[in-house]
């Protein structure tokens, strides 16, 4: 059933990696709608992945993670190859928004994180801050790019292109509260089937206050290149400490200067 999209509500993605088949329809749909030319394909020699990473041309990227055990212990349980359609997480507490000096990065009326291309000046502070390696520079425009969660489509009442194209419903779009309920049901089903390693990432507020684009993972977050809750720190965690250390240094430095330059009555 089509979702009615209303400004003022929180929307997002629930990406269920347990049913991702690595078809990359999401990558193609994203590029097609957002008119991303893409980079030249690379032969990475370790999987069917030839885009490699999220960047200015890849706003969706299907990760292929070789998780094949040394010895086969059972039928694989869906975890021998982990596939995950990665995307901007649209964090509630977004590191990129926190450090952006121009005000280019905003939270939209759909509670998503959006980079205004006419405001961004390419300082790359958001690139340094994004813990998921999502944001990248477009060298042609000189601005930072990432998934917009199809802001233009949402304004037109359409769901994002990747979710629309996903053949297995690994990528689901909708109101965040609805997605969270679906995720809880799916997790319970997997646990009841014995897939106890399955876990939700970004469903609650332990990671950056919660993610609007959250995931069901079949292994620990680090395996997918995602920081776990202990490592999910905002850049501002170093703000006060960094300035404090600089302040103490300034005081000691000034005292040292006074000692060196003080009037000593030399003739």
């Amino acid at each position: 059933m089509a979702t009615t999209i209303k400004p003022g509500e929180s929307y997002g993605f629930f990406t269920d990696t347990s049913i991702c088949i690595g078809c990359k329809a999401c990558e193609v749909a994203c590029k097609e709608w957002n008119q991303l030319q893409g980079n030249s394909p690379k032969f990475l020699a370790d999987s069917y992945d030839n885009t490699g990473q999220l960047d200015a041309q890849n706003w969706r990227h299907v990760k292929f993670i070789d998780n094949v055990p040394e010895q086969t212990v059972d039928a694989g349980n869906g975890t021998a190859w982990l596939m995950m359609s990665d995307v901007c997480k649209h964090c509630k507490h977004a590191s990129c928004m926190e450090v952006c000096p121009t005000g280019a990065i905003i939270r939209t009326e759909f509670d998503t994180v959006f980079i205004q291309q006419d405001v961004c000046n390419g300082c790359r502070n958001c690139v340094a801050a994004c813990p998921y390696s999502v944001i990248a520079m477009n060298e042609t425009t000189g601005t930072a790019h990432k998934c917009t969660l199809c802001y233009d489509r949402l304004q037109g009442g359409l769901e994002p292109a990747c979710a629309k194209a996903c053949p297995t419903q690994s990528i689901q779009f909708g109101p965040l509260a609805d997605l969270q309920k679906k995720a809880d049901v799916r997790l319970a089903a997997l646990h009841s089937q014995g897939s106890t390693q399955a876990q939700l990432y970004g469903r609650d507020d332990t990671v950056y206050g919660g993610l609007n684009a959250f995931f069901l993972l079949m292994d620990k977050p680090e395996t997918y290149g995602l920081p776990n809750a202990a490592n999910a720190g905002l850049p501002s965690r170093n703000d006060v400490g960094g300035y404090l250390a600089a302040f103490v240094t300034a005081v000691v430095g000034v005292v040292a200067g006074i000692v060196a330059f003080r009037r000593r009555g030399e003739s």
């Binding site: 121009t102 006419d118 000046n121 390419g122 340094a128 801050a129 000189g142 240094t249 040292a256």
Partner: protein
């Protein structure tokens, strides 16, 4: 302090422009601070050296916005977006206290005002023979004092800017702001000392500058040790190892300061005479090594994460 053990972040590709911006920001802020200290705490005979520092600060500060603008690449014409939010329907001045880059841009603008007026004041003292400058003795000193506070900020915030990120090494320590400040002060004392070669009446301050440089270098060394302890605790010290030659260059700079300052750090009783000698080849070599160390330190820190 939160120590992040694992990082999955992309490098921002802050390279040469930013490296040299950090270098000149350190010298701009540091020179202003050293000059103010020479003027306020020093002997009247330190005034020529203080004036040198204000001129250095002017040149270094003038270079900074050029480097920052060049770093924006094809978006260079949008540099002013740092100061003005051009979001349609939400235009206004941009200031985000939680973004060191935003705070730093404003600080650089205000510091530029202090540097410009101080350089003009210094020029008036030099050319017009107005010993108290354009602002008068009391207001002039207060002006220098406020300018020096901005100078301390400009020389240090670049390190805080790196820490306020999610990059390995940078975000694993709080020491970078202090480290860059101590290094900037050291480099500034060395540069002013070097340029006393071209202003003979400033030679009086050379020994004091060497002494100050040595103190700043001791501070830098302490902070460098603290930096390595913190990044080691975070498990990212290994990323600094490939840049060993740069760290060694930074240490050579610190060592040079300590060697040059050795003879000046002894406590002398009041009234004793000080040896006044013009800057010679040894000062030239030491100052260049110190400045090279200042640059190498910043390069080592910047490239450790990228």
């Amino acid at each position: 302090m939160h120590l992040a053990a694992e990082h999955f972040v992309r490098s921002p590709q802050w390279t040469w422009y930013i490296l040299f911006y950090f270098f000149f920001a350190g010298l701009a802020g540091g020179s202003y601070v050293v000059s103010t200290l020479l003027r306020l705490a020093g002997d009247v005979r330190d005034e020529p050296a203080a004036r040198l520092g204000f001129y250095i600060s002017l040149v270094a500060t003038a270079i900074c916005p050029i480097l920052l603008t060049a770093d924006l690449g094809v978006s260079w014409a949008r540099f002013w977006h740092m100061l003005v939010d051009v979001t349609p329907g939400d235009t206004g001045l941009n200031f985000k206290s939680g973004s060191p880059m935003s705070v730093g841009v404003w600080a650089l603008l205000l510091f530029g005002f202090f540097v410009g007026i101080s350089a003009l004041d210094t020029w008036a003292r030099d050319r017009g023979g107005r010993s108290e400058g354009l602002l008068g003795a009391i207001i002039g000193r207060a002006f220098n004092l406020v300018g020096a506070i901005f100078g301390l900020f400009i020389a240090s915030y670049t390190g805080v800017l790196l820490s306020v990120s999610n990059q390995p090494v940078w975000s694993d320590t709080w020491m970078l702001g202090g480290l860059f400040l101590a290094s900037g002060l050291s480099g500034s004392a060395a540069l002013i000392g070097l340029l006393t070669r071209y202003r003979p009446e400033a030679a009086f301050s050379l020994g004091r500058l060497h002494e100050a440089d040595a103190y700043f270098s001791i501070l830098e060394l302490v902070l460098l040790v603290a930096f390595f302890i913190t990044v080691s605790a975070a498990g990212t010290a290994g990323r600094t190892l490939p840049l060993l030659p740069l760290w060694l260059l930074a240490l050579v700079g610190i060592g040079s300061s300590l060697v040059a300052g050795r003879g000046h750090m002894r406590v002398r009783p009041a009234g004793s005479s000080a040896v006044i000698a013009r800057a010679g080849t040894d000062t030239l070599i030491v100052s260049l090594l110190v400045l090279l160390g200042v640059l190498a330190l910043r390069a080592a820190v910047i490239f450790s994460a990228q």
